[in-house]
């Protein structure tokens, strides 16, 4: 079980089970960091769209997408830390690790945004050609 001198937090994670394999624990940490970087990329996309809207004459829906991207990025960061704790706890208890439940949502959001931007670009190109 956990050593009595173990002062690491949160206790809901480090207070249960046995010390997992170092490499598995570090891999869990790197996965959480990857999710955080994905959230940061979404926020950067939001900033970029806001910049374009500020300088160009773009429809309001682009700004709505920018706001949603920024909020989604923030939410992804919070989810990353929750998922890290759940996985670390599962590793310590020698249980199956939880599934990445947010992954389908992120993929769906990115695909939807990609389709919208492609459609918008095609529409603008047709308008310019006329």
């Amino acid at each position: 079980m956990t050593a009595p001198t173990d002062r690491r937090r949160p206790r809901s994670v480090y207070g249960v089970g046995d010390e997992p394999e170092v490499q598995a624990s570090l891999a869990n940490e790197r996965t959480a960091l990857s999710w955080i970087r994905t959230g940061l990329t979404l926020i950067a996309g939001g900033v970029a769209l806001a910049t374009l809207s500020g300088f160009g004459d773009l429809p309001l829906v682009v700004l709505v997408i920018a706001g949603l991207a920024a909020l989604g990025g923030g939410a992804l960061g919070v989810w990353a830390i929750v998922a890290w704790a759940r996985t670390e706890r599962a590793l310590r208890l020698r249980e199956p690790i939880p599934d990445p439940s947010v992954l389908p949502w992120v993929v769906a959001g990115v695909v939807a945004a990609g389709i919208f931007v492609a459609g918008f670009a095609a529409f603008e190109a047709i308008e310019l050609a006329r």
Binding site: A3, D6, R8, R9, P10, V13, Y14, E19, E21, V22, Q23, S25, L26, A27, E29, R30, A32, L33, S34, I36, R37, G39, L40, T41, I43, A44, G46, V47, A48, A50, T51, S53, G54, L60, L63, A66, G67, A70, L71, G73, G74, G77, V78, A80, I81, W84
Partner: protein
């Protein structure tokens, strides 16, 4: 604990067994750098859009991200006491959440100007 983990924990075997520790430290550096760049990008955007207050907040965030990256421990991560990323993660997610908030404020500011 297996043989590889035991070798890392005892500080020995400074070879391929140390790679996961170094890789994790590099992941922290990469994350902090990206957080700083995003905040800096938001700061420049805010200033160019004529929102100096948001720009200053974003610039402070960028500096905070740099400090968070610089303060991330790069050694002793293989020791039991050093393998405690909770505080670091909270700090990084706080910077990220604040960046998201700054971006939303920017979006609202642009929407009000349109």
């Amino acid at each position: 604990m297996n043989a590889g983990a035991a070798a890392v924990d005892s500080g020995g075997g400074r070879d391929a067994r140390r790679a996961p520790v170094d890789r994790t430290s590099l992941a922290w550096q990469r994350t902090a750098l990206q957080a700083s760049l995003v905040a800096l990008f938001a700061a420049v955007t805010a200033l160019r859009l004529g929102e100096p207050t948001v720009g200053v907040v974003a610039a402070v965030l960028a500096a905070a991200a740099v400090v968070a990256g610089a303060a991330t421990p790069r050694v002793k991560r293989a020791d039991l006491d050093g393998r405690d990323p909770w505080g670091l993660m909270l700090r990084t997610v706080l910077v990220l959440s604040a960046s998201a908030l700054v971006t939303v404020v920017l979006v609202v500011a642009v929407a009000l100007e349109l």
